[in-house]
Symmetry: C2
Amino acid sequence: MNPKHITRCAQLAMMLEVSATPKPGNVDKDHDFPDITYGHFLASAIGVEPVFEKAAMSNVGAGTLIREAIEVSARWNGGKNTHFGTFLLLMPLTMAAGKGDVHQANEIVQKTTVEDAVEFYKAFKCIDVYLEDVDDLSVNDAKSIDEIERRGLTLYDIMKMSAGQDEIAQEWVRGFPRTFAGARMLAEKVKEMGINDAIVHSYLTLLAEQPDTLVQKKFGSSVAEEVSRKASAVLKEWSIDAVRLFDDELIRRRINPGTTADITAAALFIHLLEEYDETA
Amino acid sequence: MNPKHITRCAQLAMMLEVSATPKPGNVDKDHDFPDITYGHFLASAIGVEPVFEKAAMSNVGAGTLIREAIEVSARWNGGKNTHFGTFLLLMPLTMAAGKGDVHQANEIVQKTTVEDAVEFYKAFKCIDVYLEDVDDLSVNDAKSIDEIERRGLTLYDIMKMSAGQDEIAQEWVRGFPRTFAGARMLAEKVKEMGINDAIVHSYLTLLAEQPDTLVQKKFGSSVAEEVSRKASAVLKEWSIDAVRLFDDELIRRRINPGTTADITAAALFIHLLEEYDETA
C-alpha cells in the first residue's frame, strides 16, 4: 500500500476525530480546553506527516517512531500532549498497513525490542503525560531506562505490565480488538448518520462498553464506571440534546475520556484505509 | 527549504483558514454550506499533500500542479470545489519557497507556458467553478484548448486577460501584493489577539480594502461594494457580536466572499513559513 496514502488516512483520521462534535468531555471543533485547543490538534496532525510516512515505508522501530511523533507533534503545537495515546495505537497500525495488512499490527507489537522500550521512555522528556508508573519504572526517572536495559524489557513487555490499568496497553496486548470493532461500527453508522454523528456514536459506544482508563486514573473507578453508564443512557436516547447535556456535564467536572478518543481515532484510520481508494 | 516543511505549512494554512470563525459568509468550523462542508475542506487539505510536495521539490509546471491539486482534492472530498482559488495562489508560492525564496513566485508565474495554460483548462473537467469566460475562451468548451495553443497563450497571459475581473488573476499579475500584505497583517495581529481572531481580522481587512470578485461575479458590483463597506464598519466596531451579525447576514443572503478567503489562506501560508522553524 502506498505510504503516502496510509499517511494521509492517519492524518485525516486524527482530524476527523478531533473535529467530530459534540464529543462528550473532549476537545472538539466547538470547544477548546483552557490549556489545549482544537488548533493544537490540527497543528500536531499536520506536523507528524513525515513520521507516519517513515512508519509506512521503512523498518524503523515502533519505539523510535512513537518518540519522533511525540517530539514533532510537540514542536508543531507548542509542547502540548495532543496525541500521545493516538500515536501509540496508530504507529503499529501504520507500520502494518505499510507492509500490506493492517492486521499485522499484532505481530509488530509482539516483536518490539528493548531499544523500542528505551526510545518510548525517552519520549517523556518533551511532554507532560498523565501516566502511572509501570511496576517501579517511573516515566519521570532517568534511571528507569537503565533498569529497562538491565531487565531486558521490550516495549511489548512494558505494555503487558500496564495492560491492567491502561486501555491502550490492553489494545497492544490483545491484538487491537476495540480498535477494529470501532472501525466496523464506523463503517455501519456512517451510512445511516454521516461521518460526524458516526464518530460521536462510535465514541459513545466504546465509552459505554468499557470505563475510560484516563478517567479511572484521575478520578477513580467509580467515576469512570458512572461515565460509562451515562454514555450508555445517552446512546439509548440518542438525541443531540442528550449528547450536549452529557458533554456539558463532563466539561464542567473536567472529566476527559481521552483514551476512548484515542481508540476512536485509530478506528477511524482503519475505516478510512478501507473506505478510500488508494489512488485517491 | 525542506519540501516537506513547505508542504505542511501550506496544508496547515488551508486548515487554519477554514477553521477560523466566524469568518463572515464562508464555510468555517462552525458552519457548513448545504452542499459543501467543513469536512470537505479538511479532506481536501489532507489529500493534496503529494502535489504540494512535488511543487516544492521539482520543476513540474504550475499548470500541471494546479490541475493535479484540483483533481486530487476532488477525489478526497467527493468532487467539491473547496480550494480552487487557493491552489492558484499557493502553487506558485510553494514552488518559489521550494527554490528558497517565496518572493520568486512573481518570476515563476511570468515564466508559465502554453502547456501550463492547457493543463489549467483541463482541470475544469472535474469540478464546477464559478468562472466567467476569459475573452472568448470558455472553460467549459473543449475547443478553448485548441484556441489557446493556436494563439500561443501562456497561463500568465490568461491571468492578464482575467485580471480586470478576478482578484486571484490580479495577484498573479501584480506580484501577489495583497497576499504578502495579508501575511504582514497576520504577523502583527496574531500577537495581539491569537491566531483565530487574527485570521478573521485580516480576512475582514482584505475584504474591506477591495470588493470580493466572486461576489461581484454572482451579485454585481454594487453588492460587492456594499459587502466591503460593511466589512469596514465591522472592523471599526470589532466586537464578536458585530462579526456574527455580519456573518448571519451574508449566510442568509448566500453571499460568499470566497476569493478573499483564498487570499487569506495564501497569506497564512507565508506567515507560517516565516513563523515556524524549519526543523519543526
